[in-house]
Amino acid sequence: MYSYQEFDRTFVRERVGQYRDQVKRRLEGALTEDEFKPLRLMNGVYLQLHAYMLRIAIPYGTLSSRQMRQLAFIADKWDKGYGHFTTRQNIQFNWPRLIDTPDILDALADVDMHAIQTSGNTIRNVTTDQFAGAAIDEIADPRPYAELIRQWSTDHPEFQFLPRKFKIAITGAVEDRAVIRAHDIGLQLVEHEGRIAFKVFVGGGLGRTPVIGQELVDRLPAEDLLPYLEAVLSVYNLAGRRDNKYKARIKITVGAMGIDVFRAKVDEAFQRLRKVFNGQDLAILGDIQKGFEAPEFVEKSQDAYFDALDNDSGFREWVERNVSAHKHPSYASVTISLKGHGDTPGDASSEQMRAIADLAERIAHDELRISHEQNIVLPHVAQADLPGIYKTLQAIGLATANIGLISDIIACPGMDYCALATARSIPIAQDIALRYADREAEIGHMQIKISGCINACGHHHVGHVGILGLDKAGVENYQITVGGSAGNDAAIGEKMGRGFSVDELMPALDRLIEAYLSLRLNKDETFLAAVKRLGTIPFQEALYVVDQAA
């Protein structure tokens, strides 16, 4: 992992000191709320429905056990004993008091963490593959580049007041697990003539105008990454609309300009900026890469592992669902599901956080990841240690074997917490998980993603089944989309028709799933594959058969 240097520590401490003074001045009345709001937001402090919310950056979703324990400490001391992991690979605390937030930020600084640029029209936390550095299909670890982007973009004076927020995702693997084409910039590491290069996508995004990112350049040499990113941001900063926040994201700029014109402008800026970058960025990258060297893998007897596979069906199922192949043949990556049936997607108690931190420290090379699917990952686990990890997870209620299944739902906080939401997401996710708990193996791979408003924090557009909660004349109403995908075949789901009330929603999903089960060629044809083969009409007819009968 990257370790903070003295520069990072000083910078973060100074920001906490500035923020502490800003809170003091707000409480004394020297700052109005209008003056204070942008300042607190720059430090991740939002005001939600019931309380303030603090959003903490987890750079590219990577945490140490020490950092996870500190999050547990914060949850107990200043919040309500739990934290909510988000689709941005961050964590949110839903109940801090304003007066406590400077102390929380100081506690974060103690473990080299902060909440800077988790709000505002800046470059947000760079996200990546939760299996980075471990995945068997990886070309190169993307995290050093993510860290380079973090250092470049943090407090970058030119990019603190962009037309709108800006999200960058990066993957180093063949399979896209970072939804790169739904980000303002998506970076895919590729190998070209023995060297690392980037395929760059631009203008992706969800929200009220969902767009799949377009290819901007197919083989950008890795050494040109920062000047090229700066060129893209510079063009956007000048051309992006500031008159209408709903038209201000780069996807609108690219769409209005056309990808070819946009590319030409970027190339022009790149030629100018490339000269400014004198190689210092590459020297920094070299230092950063030393912090991301693979751990020393240990060979252990696998007898207990194979014995458990043979004799414990629960363990076998968990391995099948929650354990992924690792680049080292006797290692694996473990996804700890935060989607227990009936639980709130993405939530972990302080007790669970500490237990996971202990696991990571004792037997998983002290590394943890947060996935954009709101689960926690132990990236480096010897297969020999899997039975012990499974038992520990069982003891803390986190051994649900459901990764990639219907109950592994992404859900935003929705109207249970979020001031922007138009309907609830969490209870819908809970109901779905409980309803299909006994049938999820039969249903197979299915990604349901739920957003409580058009801003699409729950990624509903790219769900195999997307659910969008809206306010229809004072009643919660849920629109269903079908056929979205977050992977290499990224696609925006197709809206099926009128929305459903809360009472109508579960029966509608029942009809949708029964239609799939009856239409699929065999058990190996996933829901998404069936939609691709058949189109959406059979599923639309299943959803609205009640209307046709009326």
């Binding site: 707000r26 409480l27 009345g29 109005t32 709320e33 005001l47 939600q48 429905l49 019931h50 309380a51 303030y52 309500k80 839903n94 109940w95 008091r97 304003l98 007066i99 709130t344 939530d347 109207m415 249970d416 917490y417 609830r424 969490i426 209870p427 809970q430 306010d471 004072g474 009643v475 919660e476």
Partner: protein
């Protein structure tokens, strides 16, 4: 957004805690909806809102529609969630208002 209709209460979030609060008849902010002053006329509510609003105490004050009966209840479900707390945990006002909220 549809034009707001009386009866209404004045609501905001407490500056220090962020907790949902309501303006009572004594021009003080209460955590209890049952203590809120219910206005039968929008213009009266708006004038009291500007008179009572104190940035040193609350954030984002506005008018919210309610229904009067044996209990004053929020008209829109958003206000209902603000009044009750979240549906996944008893972490909001449920913890101190169990009986009223459950009703």
């Amino acid at each position: 957004m549809a034009r707001i209709k009386a009866p209404v209460v004045v609501t905001a979030n407490d500056l220090l805690s962020g907790e949902v609060v309501y303006l009572d008849a004594s021009h003080r902010w209460s955590a209890e909806l049952s203590a809120a002053k219910v206005f039968a006329a929008i213009d009266k509510a708006e004038s009291e809102l500007s008179a009572a609003f104190n940035e040193a105490e609350v954030v984002g004050a506005y008018l919210a529609e309610v229904t009067e009966g044996a209990l004053v209840t929020p008209k829109h479900y958003r206000e209902g969630f603000r009044h009750k707390g979240p549906s996944n945990y008893f972490h909001g006002k449920q913890t101190v208002q169990g009986a009223e909220v459950a009703a």
